[in-house]
């Protein structure tokens, strides 16, 4: 029984060890085995992204349909489960159009860059002990760096399409992505500071208590800026249909459109995987094998994204910028300073790890309540002042009329 459990628990590392031994027994050199194993890992990870994309399109439509009291896709296959296949075939048979006056190379390369930059971060997502594409020492920095490459793709799509809506959409997208990168990076920095490493494996191993319960402010900021960076509702004003039709990907059709769409969904997948790694303890959990825990924790983030999308309306661009620059960024800077001081103070005082976690949680909760109460108070005061001014103007008008 124990052996079977051990086998299921360590399935992925055992498979890797078997593959290594098998390739060595074929007489390949160490370098060649390294290359082949790397290629196989890259193939598997890319397909994880692609299959995840196919499943997510179906799951999103089903979940959003349920939120809106509809059935969702239900024709292709039982419960409409073959809908992604049907969509894929449909997209493949669509005409591959190119707008007149488009910048040929730039226009055609942009979807590739967007899709590649979305798939690349999967390399450092750990699915269990020893089950990771490559355990880079710069782990989370790599994710942030590769993610910024997608900006170039978006700008290329916007420029190359020779369309004003595409260009406006690209400007909006880049403004939003650059803005929200700041709170995202700051919340990652808080985690890196506490864990003492940038390696994703190291961060998971450092989480005896999931950081969601130690650093809730950073977790919230990361999730919010994650939603914004993926560009999903309520932050989807970069593809607001009523204003700029579809944003930077307006001119794309067929499989190129699918690639842009793939980039968006895989980005959502990566953000939720990163959320699981940074704040939910990654693969760690009782009873179940690690890769199952990882998938469950990723689904939590994904479901949150769908939930937000089905619930909230789109925000305006000034609200988007205000939320980032006047709320999230100052909040995260203060949080970074506060967490650094309290962490060092508690460690210097030599308290137990439970007390340390409780102290940080207390500070974070106080900060969260303060951060939510202050804008509420200010907003109420502004509204009251406006109401009073209006009432006064009405009173003057009434007095004038009576006179």
């Amino acid at each position: 029984m124990g052996q079977i459990y051990d086998f299921i628990y360590n399935l992925l590392p055992y498979l890797g060890m078997w593959l290594y031994g098998f390739l060595r027994s074929l007489g390949l050199s160490e370098e060649a085995v390294f290359l082949v194993v790397g290629l196989i890992k890259a193939f598997l990870l890319a397909n994880f992204g692609l299959i995840g994309f196919a499943i997510l399109t179906y799951v999103e439509r089903k979940i959003v349909a349920r939120f809106q009291d509809r059935l969702g896709p239900n024709v292709a296959g039982p419960y409409g489960i073959l809908q992604p296949v049907a969509d894929g075939i449909k997209l493949l048979t669509k005409e591959d159009t190119m707008p007149a006056g488009a910048d040929r190379w730039v226009y055609n390369l942009a979807p590739l860059i967007i899709a590649t930059c979305a798939l690349a971060p999967l390399v450092v997502i750990p699915f269990g002990p020893g089950a990771i594409g490559a355990d880079l020492s710069i782990g989370v920095l790599y994710v942030l760096a590769v993610g910024s490459g997608a900006l170039v793709g978006v700008l290329m799509a916007g420029w190359g399409s020779n369309n004003k809506y595409a260009l406006l959409g690209a400007f909006r997208a880049v403004a939003q992505l650059i803005s929200y990168e700041i709170p995202a990076v700051l919340s990652v920095v808080v985690v890196v500071m506490i864990a003492g490493t940038m390696s994703t494996v190291g961060i998971v191993q450092a989480q005896d208590v999931p950081y969601l319960f130690v650093l809730p402010v950073a977790a919230l900021a990361f999730l919010l800026s994650g939603v914004a960076e993926v560009g999903r509702t309520p932050f989807d004003l970069l593809e607001a249909e009523s204003e700029i039709v579809a944003g930077f990907h307006i001119e794309y059709s067929g499989m190129k459109f699918a690639l842009v769409f793939l980039g968006e969904f895989v980005h959502a997948l990566v953000v939720s995987a990163l959320f699981a790694v940074l704040f939910l303890g990654g693969w760690r959990g009782p009873w179940l094998p690690p890769y199952l825990w990882m998938l469950i924790k990723m689904s939590v983030g994904i479901f949150l994204f769908f939930w937000l999308r089905a619930t909230l309306p789109r925000i305006r661009i000034d609200q988007m910028l205000n939320l980032n620059w006047k709320f999230l960024t100052p909040l995260m800077i203060l949080n970074l300073i506060g967490v650094a001081l309290i962490d060092k103070g508690l460690r210097a005082a030599g308290v137990s790890s439970g007390m340390w976690a409780a102290g940080l949680l207390l500070f974070n909760m106080a900060m969260l309540i303060g951060a939510l109460a202050l804008p509420g108070y200010l907003g109420r005061r502004a509204r009251m002042a406006a109401l009073a001014a209006e009432a006064e103007a009405e009173a003057v008008e009434a007095a004038v009329a009576a006179h």
């Binding site: 710069i138 760096a145 590769v146 900006l151 990168e181």
Partner: protein, 166 residues
């Protein structure tokens, strides 16, 4: 030729070729894209040197921030879509002479430098050492703080310029 050498030649060719195209490209937007490609090549070279942190920062700052800024500046430049004409102007001869002289000056220095062929291995905690050296008063704490103050000054200046006049 080992695998590392092949990869090095690939990245070196990418960096140099894209750098050349940056200068030769007539279209301003294409020039920026070639510049980005060249910077990707430099990041690849950093990875080959096992300086992963530098590679990550190279991509994050130079591609994620500075190139995007350049693209914005280019896109907001009036008349950039028009054909700008030949890339050479009447000062091309003087520029070529000065560049040639600079090369003559640089070449003996580079040729005379004893390039170490066997570099010492990179320690596993290189990032930690880098971080510590940035806050160590005996190493780079002062330059690091000075750079931070300069960036802060630039930020405040930008806000002052962009602020609405009351």
């Amino acid at each position: 030729m080992t695998l590392i050498q092949a990869v090095f030649i690939m990245f070196a060719a990418l960096t140099l070729g894209a750098g050349l195209m940056t200068v030769l490209s007539r279209h301003l937007f294409h020039a920026v894209l070639y510049l980005i490609l060249s910077l990707v090549g430099v990041a690849g070279l950093f990875i080959l040197l096992e300086a992963e942190f530098l590679a990550g920062v190279q991509v994050l700052i130079y591609i994620g921030a500075i190139s995007i800024l350049i693209i914005f500046a280019v896109m907001l430049t009036r008349g950039m879509a028009r054909n700008p004409g030949p890339p050479l102007n009447n000062q091309s001869l003087a520029a070529a002479v000065i560049a040639g002289l600079f090369f003559v000056l640089l070449a003996p220095v580079l040729a005379g430098f004893p390039w170490p062929t066997a570099a010492p291995g990179v320690p596993a905690d290189a990032i930690e050492a880098l971080g510590r050296s940035l806050v160590d008063p005996n190493q780079f704490a002062l330059p690091f703080e000075l750079a931070s103050v300069m960036i802060l000054a630039a930020l405040i200046g930008a806000i002052f310029i962009a602020r609405e006049k009351r």
